[in-house]
């Protein structure tokens, strides 16, 4: 069994580490003493949206949670524990929920909604992936996409998804608690979309504590 691509990655890591030390000899020893990122990025697992590369960020800049279709479910301990740790322990100041164009998860939900509407008969199998995407499928079903081309429909799903996840984050305990406490650090929640075709992030929405 060949592990050439693994060795390539490990070699790339070695070269990267050496370059960092050449430029900043104490970068890693300093890094090991603690982290104080200002940003929590909740994004998609899609390989084309590596948060630190597309923002030219360094280790220590961005606390990260990435999953299929950049979801924030209020019953998901994984995302909730990340948000809790990021806000209460690490002390981040911005939560950015980042969706992207050409999202495979969003496209899968569009297809699932179309199949359900066409009533092809076979029920959806109960798997982690279908359970994970069922809120997004329900969101798709709530949209009027009748006047949209296929690509317009996908864009509309991607954008509505981002805004819905931002709403979920704003309704979560760590955020509602932070916003209700006048002595808590200020936290802003942003909804961003990354356009694969341009390599650019655009802000769709942001929310702050009401004054």
């Amino acid at each position: 069994m060949s592990h050439e691509s693994m060795q390539t990655l490990l070699n790339a890591n070695e070269e990267w580490a050496q370059n960092v030390i050449k430029g900043t000899p104490d970068f890693f020893t300093q890094s090991a003493t603690g982290q104080s990122p200002k940003i929590l990025w909740i994004g998609c697992s899609d390989s084309r949206v590596p948060e630190s590369v597309i923002t030219a960020s360094k280790p220590g800049d961005i606390f990260v949670h990435r999953n299929i279709a950049n979801q924030f479910h209020l019953n998901d301990d994984s995302a909730l524990s990340v948000l809790t740790y990021a806000v209460k322990v690490v002390g981040i100041e911005h939560v950015v929920l980042v969706g992207h164009t050409n999202c495979g998860g969003a496209a899968a939900c569009l297809k699932a909604a179309e199949d359900a509407a066409a009533d092809t008969g076979a029920p959806q199998p109960d798997t982690p992936l279908t359970r994970w995407l069922s809120p997004l499928i329900a969101l798709v079903q709530s949209l009027d996409l009748s006047a949209c081309s296929a690509s317009e429909a996908l864009d509309k799903v991607v954008q509505t998804n981002i805004i819905t996840q931002v709403d979920n984050i704003c309704n979560s305990e760590p955020i509602t608690t932070a916003w209700a406490d006048p002595n808590a650090k200020k936290v802003t929640v942003h909804g961003w979309v990354y356009d694969l075709a341009r390599g650019r992030i655009d802000e769709l929405v942001f929310r702050e504590a009401q004054a």
Binding site: M1, H3, S5, M6, L9, L10, A12, N13, W16, A17, I21, F28, S31, A32, Q35, I39, S45, D46, S47, R48, P50, S52, V53, I54, A56, S57, P59, D61, I62, F63, V64, H65, R66, N67, I68, Q71, D76, D77, S78, L80, S81, V82, T84, Y85, V90, H94, V96, G104, P128, L129, R131, W132, T188, D195, L196, A197, G199, I201, F206, E208
Partner: protein, 214 residues
């Protein structure tokens, strides 16, 4: 954009703009191609949300290289739909060939679990405590007596990586992949924050499909 003057979120968007312009200068078709071709990464990285371990930066990878999932203390819980859906999607349809489970030194999650284990059993009462409960259980099985704090954390970090690799190998996507002869291997890596280096701790390859090809 918000009414605040320069803030960390705005900085990020500005940095993205500069980065995108740089990429286009060197390869004018990079983004157009990225958008029209579906992704074909060979690697799924399951790591920690810690800001100091950005998968693509520490491996000098480009967009398109690494399918990524991160959470507190790089856990793979068999009952977690979040990570299971990532693994499932990564194996099929994305078609990764390697799953790397990456832990790191000085992990805050590991440190929290060590403290919690010392306090004795407690009913998990919030998402973070529930999330760390399996890791706390793992800590209780380890002999950390007499170890200085950093060595205790290192021991927990390594045991955690090995445990999560086992969990991944027992998961439905991997069991099915191996039973159908799919070429997917599972690696346990540890990233040393103090040196920036990754070290492979363990690798699990698919069992041979038939004896003659071993």
């Amino acid at each position: 954009m918000s009414q605040l003057q320069l803030n960390a979120a705005e900085d990020l968007i500005n940095a993205n703009e500069r980065w995108a312009r740089d990429v286009i200068k060197h390869d004018p078709n990079f983004f157009k191609d990225s958008a029209t071709d579906s992704q074909r990464p060979k690697v799924l990285w399951i790591g920690c949300s810690d800001s100091r371990v950005p998968a693509s930066v520490v491996t000098a990878s480009m967009p398109g290289d690494i399918f990524t999932h991160t959470n507190i203390a790089n856990q793979f819980h068999s009952f977690d739909d979040n990570v299971n859906s990532v693994l499932s999607y990564a194996v099929d349809p994305v078609g990764v060939k390697h799953v790397v489970l990456v832990g790191h030194s000085v992990c805050g999650g590991a440190q929290s679990a060590i403290q919690a284990a010392e306090q004795g059993p407690v009913e998990p009462y919030d998402p973070l405590t529930r999330w760390l409960a399996p890791l706390v259980q793992l800590v209780r099985t380890l002999d950390l007596h007499g170890l200085p704090e950093n060595e205790a954390v290192d021991k927990v970090v390594e045991a955690n990586i090995r445990k999560q690799v086992e969990n991944i190998c027992l998961s439905e996507p991997i069991v099915t992949a191996w039973a159908t002869g799919k070429n997917v291997s599972v690696h346990g890596w540890v990233y040393d924050l103090a040196t920036g280096r990754i070290r492979e701790l363990v690798v699990r390859s698919p069992p041979c499909a038939n004896a003659s090809s071993c």
